[in-house]
């Protein structure tokens, strides 16, 4: 009959390996092989450059509103590289780095942000979900996929991405709870980029970390320096291994920063200071990783220049493909509404086509 403090299990950890100056914690350095490290760098740089190009395309009116990735490359690429092609991902809408790792072509974001469903046609052989716009709604799909994996007795996992803002939605809660109850092979990756549009992290929730939200569901949470790809990768690999071997879910909070606008329709000067952005620019995940790779002789100036050159070429190719695309047919929504169009849809399609012809929009 006492008054006592309840011991809370499981635990919440914090992990950082490569600091913002590019100094590595030797004890924690996973000593990844050079090839893997170089691939990580290549994806990070590709994401950065493609992001810049997309902003540029938006400014020129060649795509619509675009939501940049700048600053979040380590969080996305470090996690995405921890799984294999038979594993799955459920993304939100700012995971371009992850998509590149997973094998979406560089033209895909152009289509998506250019207003084409084509940008959501997940490439054959890639086990990802399309972009999910309603905040956190995808977390439940990730859970459902992990559940199906478990029911089918595979040892695959599903990475489920969301933002700091996403942790406030009811869907996130229900997803976390189901993941815990059924001990599902799902890893929740919260990219805490400090903002939900204009709403700062500290007003998103009162808890000290987002990682500790896992305690409410009886599994582990870990907060990592999300701009440190080594820490992100190590944490993700551990969580993925745990999930694969039947250990259930993990929540990984990647502490990072949205260095750019929320979307190109956003004006962040309304809600944050230039000074704050400058502070975070010093912690840019690319700068420190490049330094680390140079010091480890994985990269040198020449190889970096080569990678830049390759990426430039790939981006150009993607833009050319996007702009030359001639598949845009407004009848498509009738084709893809149901597997077999109903009689009423056939009739409406006829009406639609007649109207289009009358308007000269179709032959």
């Amino acid at each position: 009959m006492p008054r006592k403090t309840v011991e809370i299990e499981p635990r919440v950890e914090y992990l950082s390996i490569l600091d913002e100056h590019g100094v590595v914690d030797a004890a924690l350095d996973p000593r990844l092989d050079g090839d893997l490290l170089a691939r990580m760098f290549r994806y990070m740089l590709a994401t950065r450059r493609l992001d810049e190009r997309l902003i540029n395309l938006q400014r020129q009116g060649r795509i619509g509103t675009y939501g940049p990735t700048r600053g979040q490359e380590a969080a996305q690429i470090g996690t995405a590289m921890s799984i294999g092609p038979e594993d799955w991902t459920a993304q939100a809408f700012r995971e371009m780095g992850m998509m590149l790792v997973r094998g979406w072509g560089m033209h895909m974001p152009m289509f998506f942000w250019g207003g084409h469903e084509e940008g959501n046609v997940v490439p054959e052989g890639v086990n990802d979900l399309p972009i999910a716009v309603p905040v956190s709604s995808q977390t439940l799909h990730g859970v459902g996929i992990a559940w199906a994996m478990k029911l089918r007795k595979t040892n695959n996992v599903c990475l489920t991405y969301l933002g700091d803002g996403g942790t406030s939605e009811g869907d996130f809660h229900e997803a976390m709870n189901f993941a815990g109850v059924y001990s599902l092979p799902v890893v929740f990756i919260v990219q805490n980029n400090q903002f939900a549009i204009s709403h700062p992290r500290r007003m998103q929730t009162r808890s000290k970390t987002l990682a500790q939200k896992a305690l409410a569901y009886g599994f582990n949470g870990i907060q990592v320096d999300g701009n440190d790809i080594l820490a992100v990768y190590v944490a993700a690999r551990e969580a993925v291994e745990k999930a694969r071997s039947g250990g259930g879910p993990t929540l990984i909070e990647c502490v990072t920063y949205r260095l750019s606008v929320h979307t190109t329709a956003d004006d962040p000067t309304k809600y944050r200071s230039e000074e704050e952005v400058r502070q975070w620019e010093k912690r840019d995940p690319l700068i420190r990783f490049k330094k680390y790779l140079m010091e480890r002789n994985v990269l040198d100036d020449a190889s970096v220049a080569g990678v830049e050159e390759d990426i430039r070429g790939q981006i150009k190719e993607a833009v050319d493909y996007y702009e030359a695309y001639e598949g845009v047919d407004p009848v498509d929504p009738f084709r893809y509404c149901l597997a077999e169009p109903s009689a009423e849809l056939v009739a409406q399609q006829r009406e639609f086509e007649a109207a289009m012809r009358a308007e000269g929009l179709m032959r």
């Binding site: 709604s137 439940l140 859970v143 029911l151 089918r152 869907d171 189901f178 149901l338």
Partner: protein, 326 residues
């Protein structure tokens, strides 16, 4: 052939599907151990085990959203919402995702899944347990919406829904659950989704109904025949989306008169849609106004007052007489 209630007929369809196809899984609140609050899933946990018949926490969005993920991975989930009145907790998943994956990914993904839920009044239940809001789903492109009216149609439509390549909202008229028995064939049967059923032929007036209201429409047709010598044709829609416009128009062409019956509120209900289709494509055959006999555009009352707010055969007869007298 067995004489089954709708509850048993649904149970039969579920067990057949579970047996035939290892991809079929059921999930929902109290569907396993308890056998469902209406016993629709009784005995299925025992036969098929915890991996096929899954009890969930109280979280409707999770039930629907996880079913989306399961379907994407290749299963055929049949999710239960314990009552249609609690399906709105999952409405964002239904509107935002269940209906959209095929179109969004240009057919790369599709969602062969069913969301079953009991709807409608008449069983003296508390608030939120008596509403009929099929129109929400019918207004949502990308969904099929199916409503059986009898044990046999329930079993055959549920089978069709489970094996349909697209998501189906399966609305079960709980007033019919145990109200009648019907012969159900031994072999599995499926009805095509999107086809209405002419329950009884007639020449003077057309009644369009579905779910529990089919019975009321039939009674009204009996009364009209007996009392007024009027011959009413009764159409059971069975599928709200897609809707079998042809069967409705053919009937109205013959009868020239139409009454639509449903339990749902009137404004923007399925009755409005039926009426609008006829006003669009069959108006030249109409000899009279189209009447809707429905619940009213007020909150559906707690059960002490519910009977007064449900369409009755008397009200259908009344509306029919007005239309016939026009």
């Amino acid at each position: 052939m067995a004489m089954l209630t709708m509850v048993k007929a649904l149970n039969l369809a579920l067990s057949e599907a579970l047996r035939e196809d290892a991809d079929v899984v059921l999930l929902g609140e109290d569907i396993g151990q308890d056998g469902g609050v209406f016993r629709v899933t009784e005995g299925l946990l025992e036969e098929f085990g915890h991996d096929r018949v899954i009890d969930t926490p109280v979280a409707e969005a999770a039930i629907a959203g996880a079913a989306v993920g399961m379907a994407l991975y290749g299963l055929r989930p049949v999710a239960e919402m314990q009552f249609s009145g609690f399906a709105y907790q999952a409405f964002h998943q239904v509107e935002g995702h269940v209906s959209r994956f095929r179109n969004r990914t240009r057919g790369r993904y599709s969602l062969p899944m069913v969301i079953r839920m009991p709807y409608g009044a008449g069983i003296r239940a508390i608030e939120h347990h008596s509403e009929s809001r099929e129109a929400y789903y019918a207004h949502t492109p990308g969904l099929k919406v199916v409503i059986p009216s009898t044990p046999r149609t329930a079993r055959a439509l549920l089978r069709a829904a489970i094996f349909d390549p697209d998501p189906v909202i399966f609305y079960e008229p709980k007033a019919v659950y145990r109200a009648m028995r019907e012969e159900v064939p031994d072999e599995p049967e499926a009805l095509p989704i999107g086809k209405a059923r002419i329950v009884r032929e007639g020449s003077d007036i057309t009644f369009v109904a579905y779910g529990a209201m089919v019975r009321a429409a039939e009674e009204a047709a009996d009364d009209l025949a007996d009392l007024d010598g009027v011959s009413a044709e009764v159409i059971d829609l069975l599928s709200i989306a897609p809707m079998d416009t042809a069967t409705i128009l053919n009937s109205v062409e013959k009868t020239g008169r139409l009454v639509v019956i449903h339990e749902a509120p009137r404004r923007c209900g399925v009755g409005a849609e039926v009426s609008a289709r006829v006003a669009e494509s069959g108006i030249e055959h109409l000899c009279a106004p189209i009447r809707r006999v429905t619940a009213y555009d007020v909150l559906f009352p707690y059960f002490a007052r519910e009977r007064a707010h449900l369409p009755s055969s008397d009200r259908i007869v009344g509306a029919a007489r007005e239309v016939l007298a026009f």
